[in-house]
């Protein structure tokens, strides 16, 4: 008896044990329990479904499952969106790898011109919100389908854009693929750049010709990076909401996320929850497949070495032509979209890009009191916009503080107790939010917190709910970097303090935190930036009272107020770039590296 009391006392005398227990309890409540809640929600009748199901609200029903999988509607509700999601995501991977991988090869292995500028610009879309290219695409190529005037391209050339080019799978694939091609570039380019030059030199000495070298040595070496790119782009494509919303909806091209949004906002949340579960299953499946492949690919140990000067492949006559072509692609991905936003936010009447049609009204105009959208105040004078901006910053700040702090403490305690099952359990708990697509995650929280749970009142429509989901969703980012950096810090450094009797609090603030400063800073800033440009996580959960900038953009866009939408978009991009700049200056590390690392 005395022994076991002593054991417990020893256990709780270690601060990291207390941390782990607290984390275990809270995260179980915030991550595991909601999973049960959403499953349960697929078996009950919701208020908006009462008349259709013909049962009282809250009673048990199989209606949703039957409707989703065994009715005339299952094709429209599930199978078609599922196929669309898989199809567009898979082809987006292809686009990302061809463009990003090709660019990586050109930059690392050939004598391409203007490499420095090109790489900087190529990374650009990755910092942007995911819908940047989709919006720009629509600015350029929109046609009569969604009403209003045609886009910039038609205005300039007079050529009418066919539907398949303007909307639906084709533009979704191209814009998603291009948006994630910087990721392919970072991963594949990293391997190409760090790959041990000796591996290729060894092949040269053994008389390998160029083609055989490329197919047998170079390609296999970058395969792991290609696989990582596929996993990332595919799961990002699967969970992307804004792009298919902007480009798919006009031609009724639904994917899982947009279908889920419309069912949850509409009259059948039960089916929406089922779609959320389906998305989760797919996402977990992808991760498991990835782990399995990494596990069996013992042949792919990461190999880096001192790389000597690799002789560059000379493009010779094609050098200038290829370089110009790359410049064109890069401009289309980075600069031209920005120009389109500026233009679109300035024109008075749609479709007329003449200078006389330009106005700054949508930025700084004064409200004329009318009801028409052209009479509203410009976004920089609009109290609503300022309120939203403030709300966005407040939310990002809260989530950053929450995720950053918890993530760091989680990293600390996980590493200190590494090897124990408690530590492993908590580590997995912190990672689960990463596996769940944003929109599915918000559906889960909607189901969990839209009603009173124990002592916690209904949180729907509150700022607290947004802050909570943001914190939990971005926790993996911060805890990953926390774990990785703590692993590199030997426990002796803290133990030296323990021996001298320095209390835990002081050890943290005086020893650990100062050493880990830069990781901690990025642990705060990464969630901040991600939160600033997040749409799909919040779009179901916001109400008119607590809009954030991204959902305001979405709201304006749904209303068809293109000028305000483009102006808000520029505002978001401006803030994101600003924060990114600050991050780079403060930590010396760029955000794309941090995001790429988890």
């Amino acid at each position: 008896m005395k022994k076991s009391i002593n054991k417990i006392k020893t256990f709780f005398s270690k601060p990291y044990n207390i941390l782990l227990i607290v984390l275990m309890v809270t995260l179980t409540y915030l991550v595991i329990l909601p999973l049960f809640s959403i499953v349960g929600d697929t078996f009950v009748v919701h208020a908006s479904e009462k008349s259709r199901v013909g049962q009282p609200v809250g009673s048990f029903t199989l209606y949703h499952w039957l409707r989703a999988f065994a009715s005339d509607y299952s094709k429209i509700l599930i199978w078609e969106p599922l196929w669309h999601s898989l199809y567009t995501s898979a082809l987006s991977c292809l686009v990302a790898i061809v463009i990003g991988g090709g660019f990586a090869w050109l930059v690392t292995r050939t004598d391409l011109r203007w490499k420095k500028v090109l790489t900087k610009l190529f990374i650009f879309p990755y910092i942007m919100p995911s819908w940047t290219l989709a919006l720009a695409w629509r600015n350029f190529f929109k046609n009569a389908v969604i009403g209003g005037a045609p886009g910039i391209f038609t205005a300039l050339t007079g050529i009418t854009i066919p539907d398949w080019f303007a909307y639906g799978p084709f533009p979704i694939i191209v814009t998603t693929g291009l948006h994630y091609s910087p990721f392919a570039y970072i991963l594949i380019g990293g391997v190409l750049r760090n790959m041990d030059a000796n591996l290729e030199e060894a092949a040269i000495i053994l008389r390998t010709n160029k083609l055989r070298m490329f197919t047998k040595i170079t390609i296999p070496m970058v395969m792991p990076a290609v696989m990582s790119t596929i996993i990332l782009v595919f799961s990002s494509g699967m969970s992307s909401f804004a792009v298919p919303q902007f480009l798919g909806l006009p031609v009724r091209y639904y994917v899982l996320t947009t279908e889920m949004y419309s069912t949850i906002q509409g009259t059948n949340p039960g089916v929406g929850y089922i779609i959320a579960i389906l998305m989760m299953v797919i996402s977990v499946g992808i991760m498991l497949a990835n782990q399995y492949m990494i596990g069996t690919r013992k042949s792919y140990a990461t190999v880096t070495g001192k790389s000597a000067n690799i002789s560059l492949f000379h493009l010779k006559k094609l050098r200038t032509v290829v370089s110009l072509l790359v410049v064109l692609v890069v401009l289309c991905m980075s600069v031209i979209p920005m120009i389109s936003f500026v233009l679109q936010s300035l024109i008075l009447t749609d479709g007329n890009y003449h200078l006389s049609n330009m106005t700054l009204d949508f930025w700084i105009g004064i409200s004329k009191g009318g009801n028409d959208y052209q009479d509203k105040a410009g976004i920089l004078r609009n109290a609503d916009v300022w309120k939203t901006l403030f709300n966005s910053l407040k939310l990002s700040f809260t989530c950053a503080i929450g995720a950053g702090t918890v993530g760091f403490l989680a990293g600390y305690s996980i590493v200190r107790r590494r090897g124990s099952s408690l530590s492993r359990f908590v580590e997995n708990l912190t990672f689960i939010p990463y596996l769940i697509p944003s929109m599915a995650f918000s559906a889960i929280y909607l189901s969990m917190f839209s009603q009173q749970r124990g002592i916690i009142p209904s949180l729907y429509g509150t700022f607290a709910l947004l802050a909570l989901i943001g914190t939990v969703k971005y926790l993996p980012m911060a805890s990953r970097s926390g774990v990785n950096s703590m692993l590199q810090l030997s426990p002796e450094i803290e133990e030296a303090g323990v021996i001298m009797g320095i209390p835990w609090w002081k050890r943290m603030t005086r020893i650990i935190v100062p050493i880990q400063k830069s990781t901690i800073v990025s642990g705060y800033l990464l969630p901040f930036v991600s939160c600033m440009r997040e749409l799909s996580l919040f779009v179901i959960l916001v109400t008119a009272n607590n809009r954030v900038l991204t959902t305001l953009l979405f709201f304006y866009d749904e209303k068809g107020w293109a000028q305000y939408g483009n102006a808000i978009n520029l505002l978001i991009i401006f803030i994101v770039l600003l924060v990114n700049f600050v991050v780079e200056k403060l930590t010396g590390a760029s955000i794309e590296k941090g995001v790429g690392g988890n």
Partner: protein
Amino acid sequence: MPTIRLVNITKQFSKGSKAVDHLNLTIEDGHFVSLLGPSGCGKTTTLRMIAGLETPTDGEIYFDDTCVFSNEKGINVSPDKRNVGFLFQNYALWPHMTVRRNIAFGLENMKWDKKKIENRVAEICKAMRIEEYVDRYPAELSGGQQQRVAIARTLAPNPRVLLMDEPLSNLDAKLRNDMRAELKRLHKDTGATFIYVTHDQLEAMTLSTRICLMKLGVLQQYSSPLELYGKPANLFTADFVGNPSINLIPMTAEARGDGVKLSSADLKLTFRPNEAVTLPESGKVVLGIRPEFLKQQAENAVDAQVESSLPSGMETILVTRVGAQRLTSVIFGDVDFVAGENLKMGFSGNKYQLFDADTGMRLTSGSLEV
């Protein structure tokens, strides 16, 4: 088997100083030549230029009478046509291929037929004692095994010349010893020319038939290991080779009949040169005494005091002091000394070296008298 000739080879990287400066070197057929020197001396660059992986800035390289590189004549034979093997420091095994595929890869490039490749792989694997691992991936092998695979891959096409870039530096001490013996055996068995880069003087001494010692891109001495040790060309060579290192004592020299009177603040000695010698005008010389030639003996000796004693069983490294002059010696056998103890340390034999203090060049060898 060819003789490799480097004529006035210079390598200058885009910025900074010369990595190799006007190097002239003839590596004769069948020799085991070590390129030795501290890091940054240009030894790896030299090796890579012989292989063709690096292009010299100036000079010519010949394999027998065939010119493989000449800046003037505009010749640069690519590495795959030089018929050399190259063993990399980090082995450079292709991680996505099994041992068998790694070894067969080069043979396939040479369009050998399947049966022949199979036989050669089996043969070389047996010779390198890696038969059990042929179907494993490099990541599943220990460092020593990876090393053997790398050697097998390099030797499989029967290269005329085997170039090795610090191949043993990633192995632990025991394995390194085993592999040294193995390399020496391979050299004998294949009869190929081995060129070996190392910064470890012991490795160079024990393995090679000739050593090329370099410093900052400039050749210091090119001779057999024992000559390098016994007749170092200059102070750098004398100091670099030998462990514990040679005692170098700055002294003033004065000719006295057939001897040379050497004096410093603490030592007054007479040096008897083995051959006629011209002393520098300034009279400033450096006396070099290898630790094994400073002996504990009663005759022809000076009074010394023990400063430290490091016995290791077979021998004891003894540091003594004569006045303020510190001297290192090696005493054979299991002996130990107490710090502060007074000893007689003496000289015998004629392998003491005299260097010109200003130029650093060796003047002569000779014997010492107190």
